[in-house]
Symmetry: D3
Subunit: 309 residues, 6 copies
């Protein structure tokens, strides 16, 4: 069975559409203001992973951005499972999917009373084949982490923990690192030069005997980040949530990214220099294996099948 | 003749649609990444105002964000005029329209070579009735300018001169000022406390015998801002492009916003205190009148007809 | 017995005065330079609470600001108790008092040798009825916490831990939040957008299962803050002293202020949005109750009697 | 005739007092909050200098700090002239006086509606002998300008242009420079390292053929500063209002301070190094002479008589 | 005649050495502390260009860093001319040379009295063949200007106008841009994201009809920069010394670097995008030609001979 | 036996030289770019202390600055021990030595490929008598710690953990504190006003029952700092690695510096005010004694013999 993206129906505010017909108005604030809160969840073995935590975070984003989705978290969860159920028959048994939530303020702009809303929210929930071919090689070789010259948007301008679709700053930072290496993955600094995050993931180093990741301010409080910290604790690896800078990465033993689709992506090169001995390190491997055990799936193997396909 | 928004056809990548059918894919990077460059032009007496300057700025935004629209500026201008010609018959002779350009990177994400593009750009060009009822009262009474506590995104994170649709930070700042006054207009500060801009306009004060507006860094280099400066020079009013802070506004003689739809909007109150004597000042009035003469239209009168309607 | 403020004698540099005659020279540096170190202590059941810790902090402020009070801490403590003894007879048995210390450099400006002093310090110690009517309603309803747009004075300009009477910046921030809500209590951010403190108190959130309050840099190291942390530890509630931002407050379960007069003041609204479910939360209530047990007084009940009066 | 300070009556909110009896309540917000707006004017030949400009600035400070003095500018001016008239008979004909205005919010704290006031303002207006003995030697020898390590309070925390009596930060910076030299005059930097001002004056350099002084943000917009700029223009000396840093002072030809009492105070040493050739320079001298001509007084000579006295 | 570097004698504190023997102690503060002030001058047609201005700036650097060279500017100038005279006979008539000054504090560290010196300064003056082969191709093709992610050292940490040999930060920024393009030339931003300078040159853009270069704070006040501004004024090209950011470069018509060896180096690409039309622009060419006329030499032609050699 | 510095041979890139002949080319990047990585180790009882940790840190500095020393860590260690063995016979048995490593990029500048090198590194390894006479008195009296007004170079400009010889900023900060007191030791703040480090050491306070030292960002991660933290833990003294500010030092019980030569140097005065009671405190003494026990040497006594000599 082939995994055919065109079979994945898209839920939009109460109706299901085939992908080619899944459209929203050009007057929706999603288009005119980037005014969309979002989550991306994945399945492992066709089971959604930490869907509740994703929905909880989604409601935090909605609250802070004063968008009323018109649905309770339980209703969103139920619709999500329906969409998944509808689409899973088209997913090969050894494949998995993204589950994406996008909720915008709808076609009206912000109301005079910012807790009111001029129009119903636009609620988009869809699945998509989880194709990891761009990243699959990194499980064994590691990726090249590169620092863009643009700085992360400060918390006092827009808090990165509000997971939203006004993402131009991330895209431009991405364009900068691609100048160094077309396969580079960005490690964005804040305006003080501290490491924050990647365009869609968190960053970890293993150094001085501890696993370290930046504070979740100026960085998304990633659910994969949470998972990596929990797995490390389970394995008896000390963890630290702490500010660090490029120097710490250059001199670390290991480094990796975490994100929903790939879970853990080893980084073996940083701005042209090897991280540690330039190979995927043992702590990274143990964490990836533990993750696989947690979800009953060889994560790297699944991704690598996309390479061979 | 009534001005009926539903008659304004929308151009999307080569085709014309009635507004209710003007839609784009939920997979478009406009929706998924806020990855859209934009301009808003208006007509005066059915003639587009400074359309060429708007298109020039649009191409600057496209260049910096590495979006290839697939059309030359001349082609964009020609399509714009066709859209306008198509829609003007539905516009009463004493009414005017917005002309909006939105160009996204299309359905593909950023390519490995950032100067390439994985999919054709999505080009949206439409007109809309220019309804100024929310602002019309301000021409005579002045508005209440209020400072949100969130700060403008710094230039080194995302330059405000890239006129784009990733606007969540502006919306949240707007929500903050609406807590003070549901009709408040925001005056956003940068991370050093200097005045930058409004969510969609520029800000001016008249103080110490000169018209002053902040540098166009951390603020859009507005075309209405340009026009106001040109008109002031024509009237022999000294102008300064300079950093200033809330103190300068509290102690100014006059203050106003500029933006495409309303041209000049007097501000007579700032964070609860009167600006000058709390009335629309003579310099503001002279500039508004000069603008009207430039375009052959009583700008405030046109707006006030919307109030009465 | 009525609580009559006019009966509270004021100690000024060795003499006692009725309040209406308690005056200092307009040439005192307290007036000309805001050059006064200060503490506010309160009684519970007519017993001063942590007076020694207040005096210890007072001497820290005096040292850093290079004011020689001309008295030892023991002497200050003894005078304080005398003032209290003098005035308590006028205090109803179910009422309590503020005890205020104000010590300025006196009428001379800073000497050429900054460890010397050109004139004797002015030492003011007085009591005052502790009237909590402005806050009493908040124990059950919670207050509205609001963020001003002005930023806290940075540590490198003037350390907030020097408890002093040059408080104009706090007053102006207070004026800003009163624009949102006349009963609003300020939550001031630092120049990086981190939460610092209120004009006269500290701020806490309960989130992710822990009680959190900002570092005491850019914020007073409040003695009520200390007490709240100690009580939480006694109750087995995990505590964290950590930077946080508005996002954390919007998404917290509970929030409250601490300060000498009211001890703990619940905040149930933050910038127009409910904190948690918008009601005073169980952790806040447990802490308030524990405080009451520590001092043998129903703190909220005492305050609420002022409402009814 | 001796100049006897004890003869200068002090106006306090409608009454005149001898200095020893000029007192305000310890409950006045001047004492409890440093909540006082202020101006210092001087006379030349018994005539007040730019009194109107000082009063205009005072009303700017009052407005921004939301203090209602309960008097019009004209009334304040009239009272000021009465105080002066009352006290001038005690001033020797070759001596001059300070005229000081201090206006606090009174005994009430900020009202819930920040434009209202809970109590009448406290208005203090007094004169005092203008004794320049501490500075007199600097007219010929120049002073030692020294940079404290503390930074000026940023505009976004408290704008230095609000001339107020919450001055502890200035006092502590002063204490720091006195460690280098007991006669040092401070040159305070902002948090970016730019020169701002002195505790009570502005700073100028003459370099590259132009007279330069920092922007009046993060620095008081001094009226003596204005006068120095006007005099320079009158003398054909190019002027620049511009950011500069310590490097510019180290490499300048000349440097000086301006302030109401001393008008122009040459600085011939900066952080231990000579400014220019280490002597009072010709541009400084021409400006001081021009100032003397403007006011009909040999400013340095008057000051030096205090030395000899 | 071949240009033989080994013939250029080096002056070290009073003696002349062949290059291979030109050495200093490993205990010299030049080696142990990077404690060296420096200038690089070049000849045109064997005549030193603006040698006096270079020596003047050298003495500014020496003063601010409190190094006493033990020689007057006139003595340094005289020795420089002697070194040049000694070495010019080995320079082909169509070639030119660098003249380099390096003056360190000598073998002693900073004295307790910072205006004193524990050891005589080490004074190094030498010439070297001016080989421009690395840059020669840029006169016609333009170079690729690239932004490193590291930020310029702020003025308040170390002022870039002190021209010194503690240059590690420049070298590391250089390493970063070489990752993008081995021939890239760095355009370093300050901590606010404003353009400063190159590792050894200044940066200009031509945009909106004016030639613009950043303020000389956080950037060396280059003598070639001065020359370019003077030439522009001579040609009637408006000039502005102003902050600008990457957006301004992306949208400029032309861009170039200035520095002593190459004078003007066109930049036709910025972070992967063309500047203007991607070719060396007319304003740049006019300035380069004017410079050649000023010094009587075809600057680009001389450089290009090195390519062919 | 006298300790004669002239007997200590210096290793330079494979050869041994007497100190007077230990020289490097004026064209070496050590001289022209401050491009040298460095370590200073000391002996106790003629045994090198933590040499391996120093060499490990040296290789971190070399990696980040992309200098290839051309030797393995083991080879460097072996050469170091040979140099020590060669020179120890000239060292009296109760004296000790510094061991200094300086490794520069050699005479070539940075290569186009920044991981390549145009010339062999220059490797300098030498010993020197450890003369502590400048510091010896501080063991009993304590030193005067003073804050310069210049700020530490931020991490995003040049990370202080790259231990290098581009040290001009430290020297200028040192010159500033010497203005206050010729024997002052600097305590440098970062651009936010947090304490970082001394020109060559780290800083600690003992306050609130814990030993505190700043994070090793913006400060060297000193090996003596590590040792002090380890000793404190061994003695059961709680330790905190945390940001702190001058207020914390003014109000601390004790303070001291750590650095390789002196190990622990008590500070009993801070910006003119006593630290604690102004005497060397018990925690400092216990740590110094524990250090002596660790290395089998009375550290203060050895230093004080230099005073008497």
């Amino acid at each position: 069975m082939q995994h055919d993206a065109s079979k994945h129906l898209v839920y939009i505010s109460g109706e299901m559409f085939p992908p080619a017909e899944a459209k929203i108005s050009v007057f929706d604030s999603a288009v005119t203001l980037g005014d969309t809160m979002t989550e991306s969840t994945r399945t492992f073995g066709h089971e959604p992973f930490k869907l509740e935590r994703h929905i909880e975070r989604l409601y935090n984003s909605l609250k802070v951005s004063r968008i009323n989705p018109g649905l309770t978290p339980e209703e969103i969860a139920a619709i999500t499972l329906q969409v998944l159920e509808e689409n899973l028959p088209h997913v090969p048994s050894d494949e998995d999917v993204w589950i994406v939530h996008n909720i915008s303020r709808g076609t009206g702009a912000l109301a005079a009373d910012p807790t009111q809303q001029r129009s119903p929210a636009t609620v988009i929930i869809h699945t998509a084949p989880l194709i990891l071919s761009d990243w699959a090689g990194f499980y064994t070789e590691g990726c090249h982490a590169v620092t863009p010259f643009s700085r992360a948007i400060p918390t006092q301008s827009l808090d990165a923990r509000i997971k939203n679709r006004s993402r131009l700053a991330y895209t431009l930072a991405e364009a900068e690192v691609k100048l160094v290496d077309p396969a580079a993955q960005s490690v964005i600094l804040d305006t003080d030069g501290n490491v924050t995050e990647n365009k869609g993931g968190n960053f970890f180093i293993y150094a001085d005997g501890a696993l370290k990741t930046p504070h979740a301010r100026g960085a998304l409080a990633g659910i994969s980040r949470e998972t990596a910290l929990e797995l490390a604790e389970g394995l008896g690896i000390p963890t630290q949530v702490t500010d660090f800078q490029p120097y710490d990465i250059y001199t670390a033993d290991e480094a990796f990214f975490t994100s929903t689709p790939y879970c853990i992506m080893p980084a073996t090169k940083f701005n042209g220099l090897p991280v540690g001995d330039g190979r995927v390190g043992p702590v990274t491997q143990r964490l990836l294996q533990a993750w696989g055990e947690l979800v009953g799936l060889d994560i790297a193997a699944q991704a690598q099948r996309h390479l061979e396909a």
